[in-house]
């Protein structure tokens, strides 16, 4: 059998059992923060690991006039500053930079897209990329439709050669509400086919989020208790100690609900609550996530205050440093009512989760940065140990820590040594970072590689995006109809407004202190 007609015989046994075909990645918004902080360091790290195909090429596309050499120098600086592996290795860089070029153009001018097309054809000829292209929209969402339209007008939305492929990566936020997300999807699908579109939510690229799926579906012992019969409630927390970090313009228009809950937190909810997929394949996994999203009980806008709490931080102290209040942040309206904190209670109306509340909370300027999913189990059905013996006894909690200290801990009751029966809760822990020896790749590394390989498992599908907007849009509507909130209502450096504690206390429960 001739090698040319079969799989590459040299790939057997290698860490990377699949290598993407040669391709070019075009980054719109090449001079932006996302490109510098995330995309180029991720691509460079892939090169460092030998995971990029021969002939791989990056084309920066932005308004600013600069020579390709200047763009390369910027990228090198960015990698030196933001890569998890720095400084730049000269040998790897020398080869990597040969595949970096730049096209100056405006997003609005279709003639610039024609020049981009010519450049891509040159790259196909000279670097063997064979018409395989990824267009990455690393731009403000206001530019999406313009760029998509012009890609279509220039004929860049269709494969350049027989057998080649064209893909499009879009960053969040994907719409501002259900209606705008549907409109954006309609617009996109007039020009690109669904299988060409990769909607990125970088949380899904995190190793520890994928580990939730491994934990649930590669361990037989949890499935029998992963339901309403044993679980009292679920708490999902995404707390940030940071403030706006220069994103005041964007954030003041978005708020915590759009910025964090609609995408990242609902993805965490999905991986926690979904049924086992029939296969670990893109559509099988996404089908199950969509079912969860569709099963979320819609919140009646009139009852939004019973199901949600919103907050906004005032001045305070975080990590020993005084920090300004939200309204004093740059590019934030002085009377802004944008929420920087949100807590909500959701129900998933299906057989598995009927009656089990999912409490979600996220906030900025919290005491510490932490993301976790906590599964709180029910009390034992018959309290065998009473009185002082059981004074410290608490229900079991399985905490899946996404960041930092990634890992899983199980709180169990144990007998305190001694002649008397006294019980105390202890934690059994598994630390992800200390149990495996390899450094986890950044989420963007995984997602960019998956896109090159055409694997959309960790990207969101049209119906998933829209289904995620439905409950969020109902909350937004309820908030819009409710009297304006009295902000600020929590001090920076605390775990959120007092109302949030009262909110969960009404159900006889309390927030965890992660």
């Amino acid at each position: 059998m001739q090698s040319a007609t079969v799989e590459n015989p040299l790939r057997a046994g290698l860490d990377a059992e699949r290598m993407p075909p040669p391709c070019a990645v075009v980054i719109f918004g090449a001079s932006g923060d996302l490109t510098r902080r995330k995309l180029m360091p991720a691509l460079y790290n892939l090169a460092l690991e030998g995971l990029l195909p021969a002939g791989f090429t990056v084309v920066g596309f932005a308004r600013r006039a600069m020579a390709p050499s200047e763009f390369r120098a910027q990228i090198r600086d960015a990698i030196n500053q933001f890569s998890r592996r720095r400084p730049v290795d000269p040998g790897t860089w020398e080869a990597f930079e040969q595949g970096i070029t730049y096209v100056q153009g405006t997003f609005q001018d279709v003639a610039d897209y024609a020049r981009l097309d010519q450049e891509l054809r040159r790259i196909d000829r000279e670097r063997g990329t064979r018409g395989n292209r990824i267009f990455y929209l690393a731009t403000p969402p206001t530019q999406y439709e313009t760029i998509i339209d012009n890609l279509g007008r220039a004929g860049l939305n269709v494969p350049a050669e027989p057998g080649s492929w064209t893909r499009l990566i879009i960053e969040k936020p994907f719409g501002r509400d259900y209606q705008s997300a549907v409109a954006l999807n309609d617009h996109l699908l007039r020009i690109f086919a669904e299988e060409q579109i990769f909607r990125i939510d970088h949380y899904l690229g995190k190793e520890t989020v994928q580990n939730v799926l491994a934990f649930r579906f590669a361990n037989g012992i949890f499935e029998p208790i992963w339901n309403r019969n044993y679980i009292d409630h679920v708490q999902i927390t995404v707390a940030e100690s940071l403030g706006l970090e220069g994103r005041g313009d964007y954030y003041d228009q978005a708020g915590a609900l759009r910025d964090m809950v609609q995408n990242h937190m609902l993805q965490l909810l999905c991986v926690t609550a979904m049924e086992p997929p029939i296969a670990f394949e893109a559509d099988a996994v996404r089908d199950e996530k969509v079912k969860v999203l569709r099963a979320i009980r819609q919140i009646d806008p009139k009852r939004v205050n019973e199901m949600t709490v919103r907050g906004q931080y005032g001045p305070g102290w975080v990590g020993g440093q005084p920090v300004p209040g939200y309204r004093e942040e740059p590019n934030v309206a002085p009377n802004s009512v944008t929420e920087t904190y949100v807590a909500l209670k959701l129900f998933i109306d299906n057989w598995r989760w009927a009656g089990v509340p999912f409490y979600l909370r996220t906030g900025k300027r919290m005491p510490r940065r932490v993301t976790e999913i906590a599964i709180q189990f029910k009390h034992v059905p018959h309290p065998l140990f009473r009185g002082p013996a059981a004074a410290s006894m608490e229900p079991n909690v399985l905490a899946i820590r996404i960041q930092p200290d990634e890992g899983i801990s199980l709180k169990i009751a144990a007998k305190v040594p001694g002649p008397l029966i006294r019980l105390r809760s202890v934690n059994m822990g598994f630390l992800y970072g200390t149990s495996f020896m390899v450094e986890s790749p950044d989420a963007y590394e995984r997602l960019l590689l998956d896109c090159m390989l055409g694997d959309s498992t960790l990207f969101t599908r049209r119906d998933e995006t829209e289904a995620a907007w439905r409950p969020i849009t109902a909350i937004l509507k309820g908030w819009a109809e409710a009297p304006p909130p009295r902000f600020p209502n929590y001090e920076a450096g605390t775990w959120g407004p007092r109302e949030a504690d009262e909110f969960i206390a009404r159900d006889g429960r309390a927030w965890r202190q992660p």
């Binding site: 059998m1 001739q2 090698s3 040319a4 590459n8 015989p9 040299l10 790939r11 057997a12 046994g13 290698l14 860490d15 990377a16 290598m19 075909p21 040669p22 090169a47 460092l48 690991e49 030998g50 990029l52 195909p53 021969a54 002939g55 791989f56 290795d89 000269p90 040998g91 790897t92 020398e94 080869a95 990597f96 040969q98 000829r125 000279e126 670097r127 063997g128 930092p404 200290d405 934690n427 822990g429 598994f430 630390l431 200390t434 149990s435 495996f436 020896m437 390899v438």
Partner: protein, 397 residues
């Protein structure tokens, strides 16, 4: 950052015996040691997260010190129970009692609330006491976890008890970089591999050194237009480093040749090596055509003695020709690939080779307990290169 290191000596095993119960007792006592209180006062919880057992047979106390440095770093990333056997001639004295030392090391990153801990047991044994080691391992390893045996220095290949010892673990990790008669030892290593079969997986840190070379070489042929080259190779030229005064160490180069040979389905038909000159091997492709293989040693800094420095595949199929070249450049830590094939745009790319220090290589080899079929086939092909030499040439190896 919270860090605690607690060490206890276990003295007085009578004669050439090891008191496993005494060691276990001291291991249990470590977890009650008051020193751990300094962590809990700082609200850091010491935790034992064991992923594997690592057994090491050192070459002596100096070797044990080197291992301790390697493994203490490793254990921070991969908590394990580490059991080190240190051969010591004084331990052969039947009147002298054997000693052991048990310790636990806990280390918490800044602001972390947990400190992963690992346990280490160091046992002094008489040299060559493989039977003693075989008997102790099952008693001291943590249950339900894979057990790896790392032999940093050349193991006693051909010693029957080595096979017994290997069968007591899941994976034996050797390092053929240190083999003094490298080519001849590869043949015996192959024999060990054959004897072990499914009982114990065998791996070699020298093979782990080839991981970036294999990845980069494979990458060139992921391009369909390049793949015909693999069917039409006429020559494979390999260079490896040689430092004056050091032992000639062609094992890594032979494993690379073995890898290419086995992956492409070639059969080694002849080999010669005159007066420590280049190796000249002839292989037959599946289509019957011959491939000329040469291994040259060239001067290199001591850190690269025996290391692969370049590999070049040349191909011709009548109408067209092509060359694949992978070579160390700059500080020799970067491997660059250039591919020049008629009618196809030239391609060049590079990769930083992963560290060739023992810790990094060992980490790679601890990721799997399964047999590595690709390695075993490469070792078999490398053995054929050696076996195809004339009798006199083999004797000189």
């Amino acid at each position: 950052m919270g860090e605690v290191d607690i060490t206890r000596d276990v003295h007085g095993f009578p004669g050439p015996n090891v008191d496993v119960e005494a060691i276990e007792r001291e291991l249990a006592n470590l977890w009650k040691a008051p020193e751990l209180g300094s962590l809990t006062q700082a609200e850091v919880v010491p935790v034992r997260t064991s992923v594997l057992n690592l057994v090491v047979v050192a070459s002596g106390h100096a070797g044990a010190a080197r291992i301790a440095r390697t493994v203490s770093w490793l254990s921070v990333h991969h908590p394990s129970r580490l059991i080190v056997f240190v051969p010591d001639w004084s331990a052969t004295d039947p009147t002298r009692d054997l000693d052991a030392q048990v310790s636990t090391h806990c280390s918490a990153a800044p602001e972390a609330h947990v400190a992963p801990c690992f346990e280490r047991v160091i046992i002094t044994v008489p040299p060559g006491a493989l039977d003693l080691i075989v008997s102790v391992i099952p008693s001291l390893v943590l249950p339900d976890l894979p057990t790896f045996l790392w032999w940093p220095e050349p193991p006693p290949l051909g010693e029957p008890n080595l096979v017994r010892l290997a069968r007591a673990v899941d994976r034996l990790v050797v390092d053929s970089r240190g083999f003094t008669r490298a080519a001849a030892s590869l043949v015996r290593l192959h024999e060990l591999c054959r004897q072990l079969g499914d009982d114990c997986a065998l791996s070699d840190l020298n093979w782990a050194c080839l991981a970036p070379w294999r990845a980069l070489t494979a990458q060139a042929f992921d391009v369909a237009e390049h793949r015909w080259v693999l069917d039409a190779v006429t020559r494979l030229t390999v260079q490896y480093g040689y430092t004056r005064g050091a032992a000639d160490s062609p094992a890594q180069a032979l494993l690379f040749v073995g890898w290419v040979t086995s992956r492409l389905g070639w059969e080694v038909v002849a080999a010669e090596r005159a007066n420590r000159g280049p190796w000249r091997v002839t292989a037959r492709r599946p289509d019957g055509a011959h491939v000329a293989i040469e291994l040259h040693r060239i001067p290199a800094p001591p850190a690269f003695n025996g290391a692969l420095l370049s590999g070049v595949l040349q191909a011709r199929d009548g109408r067209r020709s092509g060359e694949f070249r992978a070579e160390r450049v700059d500080d020799l830590e970067t491997i660059r690939v250039t591919v020049g094939i008629d009618g196809v745009p030239p391609v060049s790319y590079a990769m930083r080779s992963r560290g060739a220090d023992d810790g990094s290589l060992l980490m790679q080899e601890l990721r799997s307990v399964d047999r590595d079929g690709v390695y075993e086939e490469a070792l078999t092909a490398a053995r054929r290169c050696v076996a195809a030499l004339g009798k006199d040439e083999r004797a000189r190896l």
